[in-house]
């Protein structure tokens, strides 16, 4: 099989051509440097199958960025049968610069003149024949996007691959050629492949070349001492670059025929004017940043909002089509859902339905089997899949920004601010995306050229609290406000977001001054023209992400989900703990009593306001209605005092049958699971953070729910609910008086009632005795610690060294230190002095150390 390499400038349409040739779904973006690793695919329309390798976009063969190293090594070392040099016809001058370098290699080259359709649309034409003559290699005009002429290109490439090509250089007409030739002969003598290429690099005194062949450097140095150019002196690097551009502008000035002379092109009114007009607004001195913020807001609003454009006021119960299906999915009491939330609730509806179908199939099998399949496998996969609609929507929006060319402008706008932290403006987008979901954000860091910058960015992305962490914030903040009666839940939530951002900034600064030290990467970047994003590339891009995500959901995420489920559902001696919804039991028990027992039925009937039964004698109220009603009459009788009323026997009776039921089936054994034992064993480690050994017996709830957050951060509060129900079951067991019994029962029922977990948080606070600082520390810990498995898997794939170990330690350490600080300072204010002096000492040490150990590059 033949190997063809695709090489060309970033943004010249390489990946589009790759997709057209291979039908693959490689990602295409309008951001310089989207292809980071090389991708491969097969072209099948020739006599022989051709393996196509999509190399990262490069401007030159100088090995200074990771992309350039990958491309240069491939071209020089892997001996492809042909290089297809894709050239953006709308910008011949800069694109041909790379071509002049590729010609210096002994490999057949075919030039693909891409975007010829755009050139023609601008009433211009390019004389491919002349170009072919001047370059000495075949030139084919194509449109990769419209897939025009790509088969012709491959035919030419196939022919070229069958014949050898001798390298030549455009330096032939310059006064350096003599030297280049001497070096070439020297390289030939030591049997180096591609001697001409290495000769030119040696003349340039290229860093890698002089390191590989120090014995040859003297040839250049000797020549240098006798050489003097009027403009450049003996700066050969500059002379070579200049000669290439001089050659291009001289030889190709007449290749492009336009109504305007080429020299005046920079002033001319052509396709740039449209881009210019858009840019006048989008990167405007005053409006640029506000417009960007509005776009950002819209993206998040359309993805996550449950009250889109604040249209909630328009909704009332009498409004049109108030059907069961639309209510809840499309809108709810508070407002209309955003497309992201609509898609998510549709998906959740579908997966819930699937779960219930599967559960009913399995109803006759052993309870642990249905537990494994429904609560373990399905619940785990569905929890992860439930993010998918919103992740994809975020991807879609960010792909549009990227493909249109706006993303590069955002880097342009934000660079000034980010430089202060040792990052470039390109790091901004991935960080902001982190507020939505860490996974797309981490993948987006591919646009960062500098490895250290990329590592640092990936590590702090989880600190930008993602959508799935919001439930933790609202539940605990709600619990703090209702239980302690202090503060405002919104203020707590916002401050926690702010804490996350602050920690991100501090950790970036810290990393860039210690382990990830390096100069601020240079910011010399092309701003591509604005382009209308194509529908097909966008869809290919989304499909690619979807595949990637689903593959992960069914491998690493599934495996870890099953492990956690096992630990949570079995006791140390491997007895299965039956999972059950206590509210469901309570409801059934109540219903049975109310309909079958005449005494209780009469008691309910005696309360006329309750309207427990309709005319035909059907029970109309649920247990929760009765409880609410009971509370009301209790309040009327006397504030705070317990007094029997007519409903008390009903409640006590249903309490009794509830206790009987859970004793029957060991429902309460959550406390005995392997996970709970682990949690209890680990509590001492959490003591400095305020939710460890200092709490009561049930304090292990905190570590355990944080651990289940590894599957998906939504799980933290869900686990909280299950576990606090388990501990209030213990309270029920221990209740002696009627009052205690009823109160414990009501508490238990309420935990299961609320969706946002505030009641669960409250119950946990009262049973564990945690203080406010400990709760805030718990939020901080969950925000800053290891993110969900899906994000960890993504980080591993995206980290430049593909190693996750140090990053996991970094996350654990950061969350541990910050949460401990939050708790200790919150509880014992004087500890602030210790932390401040430790911090000052660390900063002083780093500054002094760095001063004595400067970075060399």
């Amino acid at each position: 099989m033949l190997n063809f390499a695709l090489a060309g400038n970033p943004n010249s349409g390489k990946t589009t051509l790759f997709n057209a040739l291979t039908g693959s779904t490689a990602h295409v973006g309008n951001w310089p440097g989207v292809t980071v690793d090389k991708k491969e695919g097969v072209y099948k329309k020739l006599d022989e199958n051709v393996n196509i390798i999509d190399l990262p976009g490069i401007y030159s063969l100088s090995p200074y960025t990771p992309e350039e190293v990958i491309s240069r090594n491939y071209i020089l070392d892997e001996n492809p049968d042909c290089i297809i040099n894709i050239v953006d016809a709308t910008n011949l001058e800069r694109n041909l610069y790379l071509t002049t370098q590729l010609l210096e290699i002994d490999v057949p080259v075919v030039v693909a003149l891409n975007m010829i359709d755009v050139v023609e649309k601008n009433n211009e034409s390019i004389d491919a024949k002349t170009l072919e003559m001047k370059l000495g290699v075949p030139v084919v005009s194509i449109s990769a996007l419209k897939e025009n002429n790509v088969d012709e290109l491959m035919k030419k490439g196939y022919e070229a691959a069958k014949s050898k090509r001798k390298a030549h250089t455009i330096l032939e007409d310059t006064n350096l050629f003599h030297l280049v030739n001497d070096c070439r002969i020297a390289f030939e003598a030591i049997k180096v492949n591609n001697p001409l290429f290495h000769a030119v690099k040696l003349v340039e005194l290229d860093e890698l070349e002089t390191k590989d062949h120090p014995e040859l450097v003297h040839i250049v140095e000797e020549f240098k001492s006798t050489f003097k150019d009027e403009v450049f002196g003996s700066d050969f690097e500059a002379i070579v670059a200049d000669s290439r551009y001089k050659f291009i502008s001289k030889e190709f000035a007449n290749v492009k025929k336009t109504t305007v002379a080429d020299e005046e092109k920079v002033n001319s009114v052509d396709s740039y004017s449209k881009s210019d007009k858009i840019d006048k607004v989008l990167t405007n001195k005053w409006a640029g940043i506000p417009i960007f913020l509005v776009i950002l807001f819209l993206i998040f609003h359309l993805t996550f909002s449950e009250n889109i454009f604040w249209l909630g006021k328009l909704i009332n119960s009498d409004s049109f089509a108030n059907s069961e299906f639309f209510a809840g999915t499309i809108w709810h009491e508070g407002g209309i859902n955003s497309p992201g939330v609509i898609l998510q609730s549709l998906l959740i509806g579908a997966t819930d339905f699937l779960s219930s179908v599967v559960a009913s199939w399995l109803s006759s099998s052993a309870s642990w089997v249905s537990g494994l399949i429904v609560d373990g496998i399905l619940a785990g996969i569905f929890a992860v899949l439930s993010f998918l609609p919103q992740i994809l929507l975020l991807f879609l929006f960010f792909s549009i920004l990227e493909d249109s060319g706006y993303m590069a402008r955002i880097a342009f706008i934000m660079d000034r601010i980010f430089r202060r932290f040792g990052l470039s403006g390109r790091a901004f987008m991935p960080m902001i995306m982190g507020f939505g979901c860490s996974i797309p954000a981490m993948i987006n860091t591919r646009t960062l050229a500098d490895d250290k910058e990329r590592t640092a960015t990936i590590r702090v992305i989880p600190f930008f609290s993602c959508g799935a962490k919001l439930p933790i914030l609202t539940a605990i903040a709600g619990g703090i406000v209702t239980y302690f009666g202090v503060g405002n839940a919104d203020v707590i939530t916002y401050s926690m977001y702010l804490l996350g951002v602050t920690i991100a900034v501090v950790s970036v600064l810290l990393m860039r001054n210690t382990s990830m030290r390096g100069k601020v990467p240079p910011f010399i970047m092309e701003l591509p023209q604005y382009r209308m994003p194509g529908f097909k590339p966008l869809m290919l891009h989304l499909w690619d992400k979807l595949k990637h995500f689903i593959k992960k959901a069914f491998t690493i995420i599934l495996a870890s989900t099953i492990v956690i489920w096992f630990l949570q559902s079995f006791t140390a001696n491997l007895r299965y703990i039956e999972q059950a919804d206590p509210n469901e039991i309570a409801d059934t028990e109540f219903e049975d009593l109310a309909t079958e027992n005449e005494t209780y039925k009469n008691a309910l009937l005696s309360e006329e306001d309750l309207e427990a039964f309709d005319d035909s004698g059907e029970l109309q109220v649920s247990f929760s209605d009765v409880m609410t009603y009971y509370d009301e009459i209790e309040d009327e009788i006397e504030q705070g005092a317990f007094k029997e009323n007519v409903l008390t026997p009903v409640l006590l009776a249903s309490y009794d049958s509830y206790v009987e039921e859970i004793n029957d089936k060991d429902y309460k054994d959550q406390n005995d699971s392997i996970l709970a034992h682990f949690g209890t064993a680990l509590t001492p480690f959490f003591t400095p953070m305020g939710f460890g050994s200092q709490l009561s017996e049930s304090g292990w709830i905190f570590p355990v729910s944080a651990a289940t957050g590894l599957i998906a951060k939504e799980n933290v509060i869900a686990t909280f609910q299950v576990l606090s129900q388990a501990s209030s079951k213990v309270e029920i067991e221990e209740a002696n008086t009627d009052e205690e019994k009823i109160n414990a029962y009501i508490t238990l029922y309420n935990i299961g009632l609320d969706e946002d977990g505030v009641n669960a948080a409250q119950a946990t606070i009262s049973s564990t005795g945690v203080n406010i600082a400990g709760l805030i520390a718990f939020i901080a810990f969950n925000m800053l610690t290891i993110p969900c498995f899906a994000a960890v898997a993504t980080a591993k794939a995206e980290l430049p060294d593909k190693k996750i170990g140090k990053t996991l330690v970094f996350w654990l350490l950061t969350s541990y230190v910050v949460s401990s600080m939050v708790y200790l300072i919150g509880t014992y204010v004087w500890t602030i002095a210790i932390f401040a002096s430790l911090l000052a000492a660390a900063i002083t040490f780093i500054v002094i150390y760095n001063k004595n150990h400067p970075v060399y590059e």
Binding site: R94, E237, K265, T283, G288, A408, R416, I417, E526, Q529
Partner: protein, 78 residues
Amino acid sequence: MIILLKDFKIGQEGVIVAVGGEGRVRRRLFDMGVTPGAKVILKKKAPLGDPIEVTIRGYELTLRKDEAELISMDTKED
């Protein structure tokens, strides 16, 4: 008149006479077409004044003032 690209005003144009700096940054500038003889127009500055955007060799290039400081320009004015 020879001035640094850093000190250009918006809309000002000129021809590059020299590119300073060393190593990686200089190489990158050359590769992006920033070589003596190339015509440059300062298109705009970012909202916070830095980086800048120039038109060179038929495309738009953005670079920081730190890098623009390395580039000497002939403005063809007196």
